[in-house]
């Protein structure tokens, strides 16, 4: 081990550390899947509201069962409450990635995030 380390000169160490840093930075940078920018609320597949993920706000949409409450926060969004029996979309919690989607099927409501460019959504993927 010592003999191998002796082959490295100071600049080598520097370059290796720089390279390791660049690689470490590139992982989250390239694998974050981009930034979610907008939240899209749909009722029966039709877009009823679209918000930028900048300022916090709440939005209520009324479906066949009642009112589904959507909460928007900077960089994320969630279904706060839903009249559906199983609460899947509520339990999904905060959506943060582009193309993530929470569907409240009983109430015909869906909440999805969109990024810079549309690609696969979290269901199809």
């Amino acid at each position: 081990m010592k003999t191998w380390a002796a082959l490295l000169r100071p600049g080598d160490w520097l370059l290796v550390l720089l390279g390791a840093g660049a690689v470490a930075v590139s992982f989250p940078l390239l694998w974050s899947g981009g930034k979610a920018e907008r939240a899209v609320v749909r009722l029966d597949g039709r877009v009823v509201a679209e918000f930028p993920l900048t300022a916090p706000r709440r939005f209520a949409v009324t479906g066949p069962l009642g009112e589904t409450l959507i909460e928007i926060a900077p960089g994320r969004a969630r279904v706060l409450s839903d009249p559906g029996p199983r609460q899947y979309c509520v339990q999904q919690g905060w959506l943060t990635r582009p193309n993530a989607i929470a569907i409240c099927a009983p109430n015909h409501v869906s909440l999805s995030l969109s990024g810079k460019d549309a690609s696969h959504d979290s269901l199809n993927y």
């Binding site: 082959l7 370059l15 992982f27 390239l30 694998w31």
Partner: protein, 171 residues
Amino acid sequence: MTVSTIELRVTDADRRIARYAAAAIALTVAEAALPSPLPGVKPGLANIVVLIVLLRHGWRDAAWVSLLRVLAGSLLVGQFLAPGFFLALAGALASLAVLALAVRLPQRWFGPVSASVLAAFAHIGGQLLLARLWLVPHDGVFLLAPVFGLSALVFGIVNGLIAARMLKEEQ
């Protein structure tokens, strides 16, 4: 047999390059037998030879060895003019360009490992660039960049250490 009218003068440099290229080609072929987790993630053992030639005999010889290695290596593994050949060529050209600069770094501070790591990153960079421009015209190829970068770093260090060791032992 008729005596050939064309006489090719073979210099010592030619023989030297041929010997090194043969070693590099042998490593390329041996490496082709190794399973790879992802196309493009390879140890690049032939680059040890290129590195040694670079530091012993200069950039011109290293370029010869590197390009002969790409050409003959691809012929031997049946990849000549296939996409893999062009990717290897792009990688070799990019790393040769970077090595031309790397040899100018102060020797006191930067050894073979520096040259090897820089060349490995250039190699993967050239390949990714060609892949993006030609084979996969979508930014999705860059999603693989961290994986390639990591393998370039690891194998760059390992190859550089081997080259440094071999250069040291001859002294």
